[in-house]
């Protein structure tokens, strides 16, 4: 029970019925009628989201294509902070230690926890950047909002060996109301863009920078020099204070603030942050499917090898402590989790190598 156990069943997509019925069905199928469980599902982006009322149940069923993967967890072990991020693989680790006591609370009472939230942006590398700069990461992942900003050419004044010089620069020219960029509050019109995903934009044309940003749009990290510096200094000092306690800043490679390396980028992270391509196989035999399902999982548990588990444990420990820490810290932690390649469950790299198919017709 609650190890790796898989059941496959079908539901009427258009009339999924009530959550209550579904809950009972789950308990019945898995023969765990005597347990309080938390039901979650993997959405299209691979995020683990809860199913605890009619609305999100309906959403889960309607968004399933064509399989809906449902995860069942005992109520008492649910770590709510996991929801909304790419934490499916973590969850598996959490399941390693099972406890037996029962809890009485129904899940939908937990309205105070961030059930359906995801990070949309974060400030990173605060400790290594000059105070006048800000490195912002935008998570478009799973978000319906457009990135929503425009850039333009402009000139900025730089200190050079020959004195002050006007140089060409790229600036944010416009924010789309309701866009991701605006909603973060971290970017503003007339901010100068200095880097895109760790690559300096100096010497590049507007079109080149545009192309770079779009190419990185799935995980865009831009370093800006905010136009409103006063505001920035206040914020950055606060942020650096809290991040001093977080693990991310203790990354082993310390370097000068002027370094072009992104500190939060692990070497393989550039590769991993990207969503994998989708391969659809045509004309496959239907009996393939169950096999695939189990294969994916087994290969997954296999690749979550020793080095990973080590890291996960570390992250877990951190997470337990994080209750005391600021919200920003959780975000940072989550972001570091999210970017690890081996954490994405939807299409794990190893999984593809194993069988090549994830989504079946």
């Amino acid at each position: 029970q609650f190890g790796a156990e898989f059941r496959r069943f079908s539901l009427d997509r258009y009339k999924p019925g009530k959550f209550e019925d579904f809950y009972k069905l789950i308990l019945h199928i898995h023969h765990i009628a005597n347990l309080e469980v938390m039901i979650g599902y993997a959405d299209v982006h691979g995020d683990l989201l809860p199913i605890n009322n009619d609305d999100n149940f309906f959403k889960a069923v309607s968004s399933a294509h064509p399989l809906l993967r449902v995860f069942i967890q005992r109520q008492d072990e649910v770590d709510y902070s996991n929801f909304g991020t790419n934490t499916l693989s973590r969850k598996k680790k959490a399941l390693v230690t099972l406890r037996n006591d029962n809890l009485r609370r129904r899940p939908h009472i937990n309205i105070s926890m961030p059930h359906d939230f995801r990070p949309v942006s974060s400030i990173i590398d605060v400790d290594i950047l000059p105070e006048t700069h800000r490195r912002v990461r935008l998570y478009r992942h799973g978000c319906e909002k457009p990135l929503g900003f425009y850039i333009r050419d402009g000139t900025s004044v730089r200190v050079t060996p020959h004195g002050l010089e006007k140089v060409h620069g790229i600036f944010i020219s416009r924010m789309v109301p309701g866009g991701l960029a605006e909603s973060t509050g971290l970017l503003a019109v007339n901010d100068e863009v200095l880097e895109v995903n760790g690559i300096e934009v100096a010497g590049k044309t507007l079109d080149q920078v545009t192309d770079m940003m779009i190419a990185n749009s799935h995980n865009l990290i831009i370093t800006v020099k905010p136009a409103n510096q006063r505001n920035n200094i206040i914020r950055s000092s606060r942020m650096s204070g809290s991040s001093g306690q977080s693990t991310d800043s203790t990354a082993s490679h310390h370097s000068l603030p002027t370094s072009h390396m992104l500190q939060n980028f692990h070497p393989d992270e550039m590769e991993s942050d990207e969503e994998a391509d989708i391969v659809i196989e045509g004309g496959l035999e239907p009996q393939h499917i169950p096999k695939l399902h189990s294969l994916t999982s087994s290969s997954l548990s296999r690749i979550n090898g020793s080095s990973l588990s080590h890291r996960l444990q570390r992250d877990l420990v951190l997470n337990n402590n994080s209750g005391r820490e600021s919200n920003g810290n959780i975000h940072k932690l989550l972001s570091s989790l999210k970017t690890d390649p081996r954490h994405s469950l939807v299409i794990p790299r190893g999984g593809i190598e194993e069988d090549g198919t994830v989504i079946t017709l």
Partner: protein, 936 residues
């Protein structure tokens, strides 16, 4: 970058050296190009980028002088260096008047390179003639001929101070180098004795003078005038102020346009050739660009397709020869070079071996095929020679210099598709891009244009006796005929061409003329998707019944895409006899053996309304309207030129252009340049646009059986793979070809897919169809596992096959901000050893850089800047060859060739030897002087 092919953009001056037998062409951008025998060419560029106004070779020297529009003179010379000749600028010089004099005082209008090779006479706007020493270009002040000195010798009553304004022409006496003829703009002509510094004769023309020409023996000269007349004048010792012998207005009696240049060539049979430019009746033919040749009772006015820049006559330059005996006329028009054989009756044109007008009709696409088998090559040439029967058989008359470049190692074809529905086949093996054969697809369709329009339908008594010459014809009858994609299989001779209105023609090479019906099939790419309406152009109407085709490539089947959108990708597999085509709506596969459509696949995203609306949809309309307005301007420019003729309005047009440019600039500056940063989504428009199609025999389904497959990549980053079942050859006609979709890959970065390639077990790209059958390639390794390379505009990705899992990738845009525009596999051989070669990807980015990326590890090997990034049409026109060379358009009419390979390099290497400098030339000249002296 090695050599430029085609016709120079905006030529502005022409020069010829009968001594070197070299021709020089100058352009508006300050380039100067020398051409001799095929393969002999040189290029130089003035630093100033100013228009070259005049070019004069220094007699009996390997030197020439150019005059730019900033009034500077430049002396160039051909010197041997490392076994080959090179063109170098030696000196430059700007004529300066005394302080305070107006600029017109030194504005050079006429240049005479004197046969003594030591001096140049420079006629100016002020009427003064300056003398500079060659080659140092130093002014010899004591030898200048001020207009005052000339005026002194002219009787007062015949002229005033203004008669000596502006020197129009300077001509040296053909026998006596001490006499020069000076023509002033207002009609006064004087013969000046250089030795004694005096006027020996003066001639009073009543009309504004345009040009002068001596008869060979120096006893007469001819002048041509602004009113369209020419006049013969005698030069004899007894009359110092002779009256004209004969005054003719060849196209009178109504007012005529100016005759701007004239030749008078003597022949053995006594009847001279009089050849002049212009002179057409102003009202009815003032818009023609003509050169008339009169020989006895024969008279023809050659009617050129564009403005005549200049022309010269090739005649016997042997000083001992008694007559000129002209052999050919070389005419540089604005858009093409035309050479007329004057020896063959009927005066046919000579087929030029170089300087071909690539842009006879605007180039819409190009395709390069390397290493053509000899058999196909010969068949194409023979088909082409049947088209060229109306050309003269005369050998190319401009034959100076020696081509010492090694013979091209292989036969290469460059195919260009044109807006008028033609495909031209060029010999691209060597330095001279030479037209082999021209294919027209127009015959298959019904168009508005009357095919007889272009025929010479001139009757006997037509006057003036105009005859159209040249091939430049930029006006397409129907833009839908435009060729967009070409694919030639060099082994089977199958050719597929696809055009603007969704037409795909498959052709076969036939050595005989034939008349047959072209089979017709429709491919509905929308496949009953509801609610779409095509707002673009209609498909072309086809001709019913059998059509007569000349020998060459003859279409046998037409596949019409519905809706008739531009064909955006095309692939032909000659072994499987299949042709695949794609538009912005989807793609299809056609079996051209059974003439049966195998399948179609719609790639449209349901939300993509724009793609359906045709070329005038919102996104494209801006681009379109810009282009149209430019075209309008171009058209009005040409027509205004036609209307008013002559060169006089060029400056006005320029002004208008400059004004337009300025306006356009201002407009652009007003709108702030900003770029939207947005991730691509499936809903973006034109995601269904099929960018690339690829046939491969590979492991698509499982790793034990390989099968034929078709791959398609779209603008939205989707790759479709279809498994094909092609019946074996013996049952090829009996069983249908079947296709089944096997895979669909969606690249998450959603960038347009520009290339798909399968690498075999040895990581070599799969060979072309029939390559193995012709023993020209090793058969692919089917043992090891195959890999799939997908190139998008942003990334290169290698996947394993048959399980499509990502193995390797190279991000380009995310790191460098550049995007892939063109990609091809190129084979790079070592220049040192014959047995080593490797396959790499040659990539052109939107910044105009060329990068070489290794296969299969996707490592960037080298990067060259190649094309300016602003040169969008240059980047769009670039084609790579299979052996690491490439071509791109540097102007509508010129290809620049470049080479990335050390082994395959095509560049001009030639030598110009000074012909034996004829001491007897001098002797002859001397005797001429004596003769002249004795006469006088």
């Amino acid at each position: 970058q090695t050599v430029e092919h085609g016709f120079p953009h905006q030529p502005s001056a022409l020069g010829y050296s009968p001594f070197l037998r070299l021709m020089a062409i100058g352009t508006r951008s300050g380039a100067i190009k020398l051409y001799g025998a095929p393969g002999v060419e040189f290029m130089g560029l003035h630093e100033e980028n100013n228009t070259v106004m005049q070019i004069h070779f220094i007699p009996d020297q390997c030197q020439l002088v150019t005059l730019l529009d900033d009034n500077s003179l430049h002396l160039w010379s051909l010197k041997q260096h490392g076994g080959a000749s090179e063109l170098r600028e030696e000196h430059r010089f700007t004529l300066k008047g005394p302080p305070g004099s107006p600029p017109s005082a030194t504005q050079i209008t006429a240049v005479l390179a004197h046969s003594s090779r030591e001096v140049l006479y420079l006629g100016t706007e002020s009427g003064n003639i300056f003398v500079v020493e060659a080659p140092s270009l130093r002014v010899l002040e004591d030898r200048s001929i001020p207009s005052e000195a000339v005026l002194q010798r002219i009787p007062e009553d015949n002229c005033n101070r203004r008669s000596c304004e502006l020197v129009e022409a300077l001509r040296e006496h053909p026998k006596n180098p001490d006499l020069i003829l000076i023509g002033y703009s207002r009609g006064l002509i004087v013969l000046w004795d250089l030795q004694n510094n005096k006027v020996t004769h003066h001639f009073l023309g009543s009309q504004q003078l345009e040009n002068l020409y001596w008869q060979r023996d120096g006893s007469k000269f001819i002048s041509c005038h602004y009113d369209g007349s020419y006049t013969q004048w005698p030069v004899s010792s007894d009359n110092r102020q002779p009256e004209p012998l004969e005054n003719t207005v060849p196209y009178g009696p109504f007012p005529c346009k100016a005759i701007s240049k004239i030749y008078w060539q003597t022949t053995k049979n006594g009847l001279p050739y009089i050849i002049f430019q212009g002179g057409m009746p102003r009202a009815s033919y003032g818009d023609r660009h003509s050169i008339s040749v009169i020989h006895g009772s024969q008279q023809t006015a050659f009617d050129f397709t564009s403005r005549v820049i200049d022309f010269f006559i090739i005649f016997s330059s042997e000083p001992a020869a008694e007559f000129d005996d002209p052999s050919a006329m070389v005419v540089l028009a604005e858009e093409e070079l035309v050479v007329i054989d004057l020896k063959t009756p009927g005066w046919p044109a000579v087929h030029p071996p170089y300087l071909a007008s690539l842009h006879c009709s605007a180039i819409t696409c190009s395709h390069h095929v390397s290493n053509i088998p000899l058999k196909l090559w010969e068949r194409i040439i023979s088909a082409g020679s049947k088209q060229n029967i109306h050309y003269s058989t005369m050998p190319w008359p401009i034959d100076g210099g020696t081509n010492i470049a090694p013979d091209p190692p292989q036969r290469d074809l460059l195919l260009t598709g044109h807006e008028d529905g033609t495909v031209r086949f060029w010999d691209a093996s060597g330095v001279c891009l030479h037209l082999l054969y021209k294919l027209s697809t127009v015959r298959v369709f019904l168009t508005d244009a009357d095919p007889n329009d272009n025929m010479n339908t001139l009757g006997e008594d037509e006057w003036p006796p105009l005859r159209k010459v040249g091939t430049f014809d930029p006006y397409s009858d129907d833009p839908r005929l435009g060729i967009q994609k070409i694919y030639l299989c060099k082994y089977s001779g199958y050719l597929a061409v696809a055009g603007t209105a969704g037409q795909v023609l498959v052709m076969e090479l036939n050595d005989e003329d034939a008349e047959h019906v072209v089979d017709h099939a429709e491919a509905d790419l929308l496949q009953d998707q509801e609610g779409y309406r095509w707002k673009g152009h209609e498909k072309l109407k086809t001709r019913d019944g059998p059509v007569q085709f000349e020998a060459g490539f003859q279409p046998f089947v037409l596949v019409q895409c519905q809706p008739p959108a531009v064909v955006t990708s095309l692939a032909l597999h000659s072994e499987w006899k299949l042709v695949a085509f794609g538009t912005s709506h989807g793609f299809g596969l056609f079996d051209h053996q059974q003439k049966r459509l195998v399948f179609v696949k719609c790639t449209l995203h349901p939300s993509d309304q724009l793609a359906l609306e045709g070329p005038l949809s919102r996104v494209k309309s801006l681009k379109k309207s810009l282009r149209q307005s430019f075209r309008r301007i171009r058209r009005s420019r040409v027509s205004s030129r036609k209307r008013r003729g002559g060169a006089g309005n060029a400056s006005e047009v320029q002004e208008a252009n400059a004004k337009f440019d300025q306006d356009a600039l201002q407009e652009m500056e007003l709108a702030p340049v900003q770029r939207k940063i947005e991730a691509r989504s499936a809903e973006d428009s034109f995601t269904g646009f099929v960018r690339t199609l690829y046939f491969a025999d590979t492991f698509l389904r499982d790793s034990s059986r390989h099968c034929p497959s078709l791959w398609a990549g779209t603008n939205g980053g989707t790759v479709y793979a279809f498994c094909l079942r092609v019946p074996p050859a013996e049952r090829r006609m009996d069983e249908p070809v079947r296709a089944e979709q096997a895979k669909e890959i969606q690249l998450m970065h959603r960038a347009p897919v520009v290339g798909i390639l399968v690498l075999d077990g040895r990581s070599t790209p799969l060979p072309e169809p029939l390559e193995v059958a012709h023993d020209l390639s090793k058969s692919p390794d089917m043992q090891g596992s195959h890999q799939l390379l997908v190139v998008s505009e942003e990334q290169f990705k290698v996947f394993t096959l048959p399980k499509v899992s990502s193995k390797l990738k190279l991000k380009l845009t995310a790191l460098e901000g550049c995007r892939v525009r063109k990609v091809t596999v190129a084979n790079f051989g070592s220049c040192k050893t014959d047995d080593y070669s490797e396959n790499d990807l040659a990539v052109l980015t939107n910044l105009g850089d060329i990068q070489i990326i290794s296969l299969p590890f996707l490592k960037l090997q080298i990067r060259y800047p190649c094309i300016r990034k602003e040169d969008v049409s240059g980047i769009a026109s670039c084609v790579f060859t299979k052996y690491g060379q490439g071509f791109y358009l540097i102007s509508p009419s010129e290809f620049e060739r470049f080479s990335l390979s050390t082994k395959w390099l095509v560049e001009p290497r030639c030598i110009v030897d000074m012909p034996e400098v004829t001491s007897n030339n001098h002797v002859h000249n001397k005797s001429g002087v004596e003769n002249a002296a004795r006469k006088s």
